[in-house]
Symmetry: C2
């Protein structure tokens, strides 16, 4: 949730001071880094949700539509979607259920693997994904709220974190 | 969720390439920044949750306990907790309910404001908060998974983002 009234002091800087005062100074920077990522995610997700809500999309469903839009055939096996989006199979199932109910995706049998199911993006799904992208590009991605050269610096730091965590 | 098998390529770098290929190159860095924060938060929250789960705590309840632990009297009005943690009043109520059920917090009437309710940390709450901190300090905050000088660099960038978003 966005803060309606700004706080008089930065709550994470205050926690950092408390960490030092309690003898945990050696890990205070790490605490501030983890807590900052948590809060930054809340702020950005609130901005993204505000843009996607009128389109009846969540960020998870938007990411799934974009993955299918970018795929060569407009379809991918459900298991592949889970591994590319790094989410649990049950979350993929639930997102595909919702997208299918809105006519944005349809389930198809896999042409060669009888145990696999494909999710295929529909024309309606493509139109929704592109409309959402236009709005997100304008309202969030064009200015994510960082200093000019901070954007690539942040991406580089978090690429390092994701790589160390074994994402790729 | 942590990725069981690393992907052959960075999915955010791939999305960045797709953004450029679709003529959205001007905002591709911003898209990568926002998506990186979302994924970094998932990675860090999974690590934090793994540490807190055996203590029957969530990160939200842990933050609430620490806020009370750090407060001068060991208690704060519920409304003040919401504004300091930047969460909705209903989330504070629900977290206090759960902490109270576990004997870690107790509700008290405010001494001077009859409309306000205080949450006060108990001895049990203090012990749990300190045990959780010891484990988080060791397992997550001591090494959040960033390059050596990347930790303060990340905190500085996200402090800027939080400040621009009106947090403080």
């Amino acid at each position: 949730m966005t803060q309606p009234k700004p706080l008089p002091a930065d709550p994470i800087a205050e926690a950092h001071r408390q960490w030092k005062a309690h003898g945990w100074g050696g890990v205070a920077d790490g605490m501030a880094a983890v807590t900052s990522v948590m809060r930054a995610q809340q702020i950005l997700l609130a901005r993204v949700d505000e843009v996607l809500r009128p389109l009846d999309l969540t960020f998870a469903r938007y990411e799934l539509l974009m993955l299918l839009l970018f795929s060569r055939r407009g379809s991918l096996p459900l298991s592949r979607i889970g591994s590319l989006l790094q989410v649990h199979p049950t979350s993929v199932t639930s997102a595909v259920d919702r997208l299918e109910a809105r006519g944005q995706v349809r389930r198809q049998p896999h042409p060669t693997d009888r145990r696999a199911v494909l999710a295929e993006i529909t024309d309606e799904g493509r139109a929704t994904a592109l409309a959402a992208t236009t709005r997100l590009n304008e309202s969030v991605f064009a200015d994510p709220g960082l200093p000019e050269n901070g954007v690539t610096e942040l991406v580089d730091l978090l690429t390092d974190l994701r790589s160390r965590a074994g994402d790729f």
